[in-house]
Amino acid sequence: MTTNDLPPSLRAAATPIVIVGHVDHGKSTLIGRLLYDTDSLQDGKLAQIVESSRKRGLTVEWSFLLDSLQIERDQGVTVDSTRIPFHLGGREFVIVDAPGHRQFLRNMITGAADAEAAVLVVDALEGAQEQTRRHAMLLRLIGIRHVIVLLNKSDLLDFDQERIAQAETDVRALLGRLEITVEAFVPASARDGDNIASRSERAPWYTGPTLVEALAAVPAPASRLALDFRMPVQDVYRFDDVRYVAGRIDRGVIRAGDRIMIGVQGQQATVAEICRWHAPETPVAGAGESIALRLEPDLVPDRGDLLFPVSGAGEPPLKTARIRTRLFWLRSEPLRVGESFTLRLSTAEHDVTVASIDAVVDLDDLTLAPGEEVPPDGFAEVTLVAAHAILFDPFAPGYSDGRGVLVDRFQRIVGGAPLLGEAELPEGTHAIHPTASRVTALQRRALQGHEGAVFWLTGLPGSGKSTIARLVEKDLVASGVRASVLDGDTLRAGLCADLGFSPEDRRENIRRAAHVARILAESGQVVIVALVSPLAEDRALASQIVGEGFHEIHVDASLALCETRDPKGLYAAARAGRIPDFTGVSAPYDAPAAPRLRIDATGSPESAAEALGSFITTRIA
């Protein structure tokens, strides 16, 4: 259903139109003129413009209407986007004015992102300039479907048919390269009013629409009702013992009784009730409505969980941890590979890392080239990697799908990242991506006289791993080596306090330890990890996470010996059945088949530490 299909009693929402273009190509003048010609000014406004112009000794300046902030007048540029309603026939529009000044791109996006159509203002004499290309690129990335080009100041070409045709060819060629279709090309003069609301007498040859006619032809927003149901959970409330799952429907329709899936976990529930307050009771809701659901069973989804139909009912969303995006970058420092952000996708937040910058747009000729970084206000194709698979529908102009936004650790929005689809995993890599430290391993080595590395001590409980690690650490530090220990009990007291001893939790414990070790090693530390890490496959995971510089060390003592030592009384407790899943007693231990070093731990801890110490020294030199 489109707005045009609404019953006559229903008013359509205003159509937002964004006006963009290079600085001084006449956007503000155009808007002032448009409001005047369509009689959309409030009674006091015209007098204000005349008065302001008179004070400055000028004839009427249409742009004063918008430059309503003192600072803007002082600078002569429009600082921020602003919105002005106006009527055209029976239809309501909202004009969004976007500044042409280059560093204010973020303000332009703020104004333009939900526009239905754009007017790109191009100076007839100057033609497309840097910001014309930049704004056109942005129109494409934010998904504006309907673009009107206004060739402003056409009086400077004397409204000459041939010269205007040439200008039109140039602009169409440029926009064609961005896959933007020009819906109308209007030669005009905003200052004099030619082809704005009334047909220009200076261009009798022109048979196309005036700007006002072109705006009236902007189609109504695409309907999202016929698409598969999607609702990202915004929040979950419990009021008077009733649990409400609140959110706004992105697309599709939901009815009481429908079966839905919840988020990436895919739990299923039935919609028991669609709840609203002070609204007609109806067991159905459609795209755009902010509602609350009661679910049966009474599950508690998380904010950000996507609700979608159970399998078999329509297309499921994509599910991947590697995402191709087309990015526009708003931070004043460049974007580099290895940087981490929060990816906001509707109400969901995901930790992501920039895995690769696949292509950067050259704004001089709009070509794509490989690049190391994305400059401020730049555009690029970028691969993001999330910590876990995420659910999304690919970005499509005119819909709310796949509207990714990057947020830094200060909760600042630093870029837009329309999600295009799943990224191919490059050959021979695993899903870990080095951070782009500006300090090279070589510099660190020169500074501290050794390299960073990880020495992973595995062995039965009571074999002496922690004791040996602490002794070696002391010796290494004494000889000027930056060494530190990650031991099992310390990790479980803090970082891993939420984990138990099930195989899954042990694996997670190891995964976290490996990541911490990797970060420390990359910053030049010699890391000695002391963890039972009983399973070969979990140690393989650690080795994979750490990558180069991982050394597996087997602290080898027999079960009988360890049980005799039993320094913490754990074996006794395990034998008595008070500790389930105890390695060596009630859980398996896979001794390493081919460790880099096997330490005989039957003797004194001091001699074991000495053996380990000399091994480490040879490996970090």
Partner: protein, 277 residues
């Protein structure tokens, strides 16, 4: 999923008010989720009544955070009576804030703006007292050109200043929530509403109002500030329908009766940068 399946109820088509309402509910739910402690500025005027109403829509009939009235002591008696009645009827958790005497306000401001700035000071002390991170305010873009520049989530730095030249990007319903000590976010759920939308929504939802908005003896208030700096307009509109008809025919600015908007070209912007709504 076909909309035309016989016997299956289709969703109600959304008109412009439905869309504005859905967007405002979304914004209020974002604020409640992201900004705690949170409070809503209830000026007792038509816009803030609509806002309280929208909060009840968002949270199934209740307002799950306190509302604030910054009391200049100069409101109309009808407004105080309204406050008492609806605090009770709507079950609101009302916090009152006092304003400093006018003598303590920047004497370089023109007189009416100086009087309005008392409210800013009163609000500032409430924000500090309750360590608020979010303040919901009922401003609209169509009210005043400076407000047209606003964000839905508008960060206020230390001293509650509005850095109009360095506002965060805001698009695709993603709102910046930067936080440092001393900052708060002004949340503007009504930013996209126009005056006429407010009135049509009040009519549709039957939202109660102070009757100063309706004409008596050829005068009515279009906007309600303090008694001493707000003047009524000439009007015979004594019902909601008549007010709506009058607005549809009029192009006069709503705040034409607010003295501080007209004292000098930059008076209102100076007020806003310093924390006025």
């Amino acid at each position: 999923m076909s909309l035309a399946t016989p016997g299956v109820v289709s969703p109600r088509a959304m008109d412009d008010l439905d869309q504005l309402e859905a967007q405002s509910i979304f914004v209020l739910r974002e604020a409640y989720r992201k900004l705690r402690p949170l409070s809503l500025l209830w000026s007792l005027g038509k816009d803030s009544n609509v806002m309280v109403w929208l909060a009840r829509k968002a949270f199934m009939g209740r307002v799950p955070f306190p509302v604030m009235h910054v009391d200049t002591g100069k409101k109309f008696p009808e407004m105080y009576a309204f406050r008492e009645e609806y605090t009770r009827k709507w079950n609101l958790d009302l916090m009152l804030g006092d304003c400093p005497p006018v003598e303590e306000i920047d004497p370089s401001l023109p007189p009416a703006a100086r009087s309005a700035a008392r409210k800013t000071a009163g609000l500032a002390s409430l924000i500090e007292k309750h360590k608020l991170r979010g303040v919901i305010a009922g401003i609209r873009r169509d009210e005043q050109a400076t407000r047209a520049k606003e964000r839905v989530f508008s960060p206020r730095g230390a001293g509650h200043r509005w850095d109009v030249r360095n506002q965060p990007p805001e698009f695709w319903d993603q709102y910046a929530t930067p936080y440092e000590d001393g900052m708060h976010i002004r949340v503007h759920p009504l930013l996209s509403w126009r005056e006429i939308d407010i009135w049509r929504y009040i009519e549709r939802e039957n939202i109660p109002l102070v009757d100063l908005y309706f004409a008596k003896n050829g005068k009515r208030y279009r906007s309600l500030g303090d008694q001493d700096i707000t003047s009524p307009i000439d009007s015979d509109a004594s019902t909601l329908a008549e007010v709506i008809a009058e607005l549809e025919a009029s192009k006069t600015s709503e705040r034409a009766g607010r003295a501080m908007d007209h004292e000098s070209e930059d008076a209102f912007e100076r007020l806003r940068v310093a924390g006025y709504l």
